[in-house]
């Protein structure tokens, strides 16, 4: 071979053309994507979206996930004063356990805020001493409506005032006054009453106090009682939540493995190298397409008439879709099996079932197992969504809490649990996959 061969001029031109072609391609792909995004920009009205975006909602949401509010409310018709966490019945303080920042007297309450502001409710009057601003004083009467000590024309934007209503919003609290009620919402950091509700004797006790301190409730040992009160916490309902998590996993488990068990024999009918008849193979394939094409969520709706709400319906819905998915995947795995092994077993005079057992199953088991476990993990996530519709599991709690837009701290609690659950299932199935496929 000669090293002296001279490249023809032709080669120069061709190489240039080649690079030019590649350059075109390198630009074309990003350009196509860009063009599509421009189309989407208009189709989705992104420009308008920027205007509609509500960051204050986002702030409300985010701040609500890590803080909670306590309502101090005076009913202006009866004069009754109530202090309650999130305004809930189950979180209402009684005269013995008011939080330290509020003094409740006869028809009056004085609130000391974190930023040294104070709010006073007395009779039909509220007075809010805002640090660095001054005193806002307002009264309401049945006939005169709401009146305020400031000039209504020059109010800052965090004070909203009309003849019927006054709202003052600061970082530390929100105050509102109408003819019907005077209300103060005080924001505090944390998830309220997460461990114990106000009724529990353990409320306000620290961990060490419960573990090592004196017996708090004479009826029960500290550990036992604290656990019971925590587990049955009326606001957070930890017990029910754990049950809901379990139900979610249960749906995923039953659905996934049920589907795998049903799909395995059907997959033989759909595999080119095992199907007895083309017609049967086609029928099996279309069945799988149909089962898969109808999403699990729609199966839930279709099945709800026959089985009613509950985890079984959710599990069946997962089972239906996954039978379709597994059927397809398994039959593809079957079509890829190595004929040699089957022939080797067949040559010994093995019966058909034995041929499948020893010639086919050992080959596809790793593929099947890995897919089934992979689905188990992803179905745990699907089960949260399906549960939201069929009425079971953590998904229902989560979506309900979100849709009612009431308690974002509960939402974040559920989200954390869901994420932990899915991640746990992820690593569990990964671990099992490694164990089962590497071993045996």
């Amino acid at each position: 071979m000669s090293l002296a061969a001279n490249p023809s001029v032709d080669m120069h031109a061709r190489a240039k053309a080649l690079i030019a072609r590649k350059r075109m391609l390198a630009f074309a792909l990003p350009l196509i994507v860009l063009a599509y995004f421009v189309y989407i920009f208009f189709a989705f009205d992104i420009a308008g979206l920027a205007g509609r975006m509500r960051w204050d909602n986002a702030v409300t949401l985010v701040s609500d996930t890590y803080s909670y509010k306590t309502h101090v409310e005076r009913n202006n018709r009866t004069g009754e004063i109530k202090v309650a966490v999130e305004g809930e019945r189950k979180g209402t303080y009684n005269a013995t356990n008011y939080p330290a920042w509020v003094k409740v007297g006869e028809d009056a309450a004085v609130i000391t805020l974190d930023d040294d502001g104070t709010i006073e409710i007395a009779d039909d009057m509220v007075r809010y001493d805002v640090p660095g601003f001054g005193v806002i004083e307002a009264t309401q009467s049945r006939t005169g409506g709401v009146t305020i000590n400031l000039d209504p024309a020059t109010l800052p934007d965090w004070i909203s005032y009309s003849k019927t209503r006054l709202t003052v919003t600061t970082k530390a609290a929100r105050l509102s006054l109408t003819k019907a009620r005077s209300e103060v919402f005080v924001y505090e950091f944390g998830w309220e009453l997460f461990w114990f509700t106000l009724e529990s004797p353990y409320y306000g006790h620290g961990l060490s106090g419960i573990l090592f301190g004196e017996r708090i409730d004479p009826e029960r040992s500290n550990l036992m009682g604290a656990w019971q009160d925590f587990w049955n916490n009326a606001i957070w309902r930890h017990g029910d939540t754990v049950w809901a998590l379990f139900e979610t996993v249960l749906m995923a488990f039953l659905g996934t493995f049920g589907a795998a068990i049903i799909a395995l024999p059907l997959a033989f009918l759909a595999a080119r190298n095992f199907a007895p008849l083309v017609a049967i193979r086609m029928a099996a394939r279309r069945l799988f397409d149909f089962l898969r094409g109808v999403d699990g969520l729609i199966w839930t709706i279709l099945l709800s008439r026959a089985f009613g709400p509950g985890p079984l319906t959710g599990a069946l819905a997962i089972l239906f879709t996954d039978t379709g998915s597994f059927g397809k995947l398994f039959s593809e795995a079957l079509e890829n099996v190595d004929e040699k092994q089957i022939e080797g077993v067949a040559s010994t005079g093995a019966k058909p079932l034995q041929r499948y057992r020893f010639g086919v199953i050992p080959q596809i088991v790793p593929v099947l197992l890995s897919q089934v476990l992979y689905f188990l993990e992803s179905n745990t996530r699907s089960a949260t969504i399906i549960g939201a519709i069929t009425g079971g599991g953590i998904g229902l709690l989560l979506t309900q809490a979100m849709i009612t837009q009431k308690d974002w701290e509960e939402v974040s609690y559920y989200i954390v649990l869901v994420v932990l659950l899915v991640m746990a299932m992820d690593s569990f199935s990964g671990w099992l996959r490694r164990r089962l496929i590497k071993g045996d």
């Binding site: 040699k340 080797g344 005079g349 093995a350 034995q354 057992r357 020893f358 050992p362």
Partner: protein, 274 residues
Amino acid sequence: MLEVKSLTKRFGTKAAVDKVSFHIDRPMMIGIIGRSGAGKSTFLRMMNRLTDASEGELLFEGRNVLSLKGAEKRQWQSDCAMIFQQFNLVPRMDVVSNVLHGTLGRRSTLTTMFNLYPEEDIHKAIDILGRLGISEHAEKRAEALSGGQQQRVAIARALMQDPKVILADEPIASLDPMNAQTVMEALRRIHDEDGRMVIANLHTLDTARRYCDRIIGMRDGRVVFDGTPAQLTTGVARDIYGAGADFSEAATSTEIRDHEAVEAVERRLAKLTV
């Protein structure tokens, strides 16, 4: 003992095996040679009933095995073990289980489904492995073994069938010379000690000459030679392989030479023939 009467196999219009007839009257070690596509594999596969014949008869001890059906067919398969070029073991299963597959033909479906083999079968399997010198690998997965060891496992599976005939389809084609020798010696020993009939497809003349009692040469589906090793002269070989006067056996020999150098040239050859 074995009588083949104008056995034919057609794929479409092409006859892969074309009116093959021969007769063997006592257990022998028989080598079938012929170039690629001559119909050697097809013949063995028909004999083991992995493929159906198009025409003709194959009588073993007076019975036409080609017409057997269902359980009887499987009974014949279990009497007539097959060894493949690619071993055709179940790689993910351990060696003993692979050997035990040789008993599938005579055990009930249900018990074998759950890998429940009788203890004496397990003992026998290990004995056979011992005889072939690989009992220390009994617990390993088949895929963890070298080619030669895997082929010996395949032979052990065949022996486990306690067959009257052992068919071997190019049993040493994917093995290196060292392993090839071990495997061929194992087959020969089985023939010598147990008196089983062995029919082996071989692609190298010297192997056939060294180990077989009788050699059948095939070309384009027909038998073109049938005789003793001594009768297999270079001229005859040229006939079988349809080669010209420059034919040299060396090219297909399995004897150990300077492989590095040969391979280097072989590689150039391969490149050039593309």
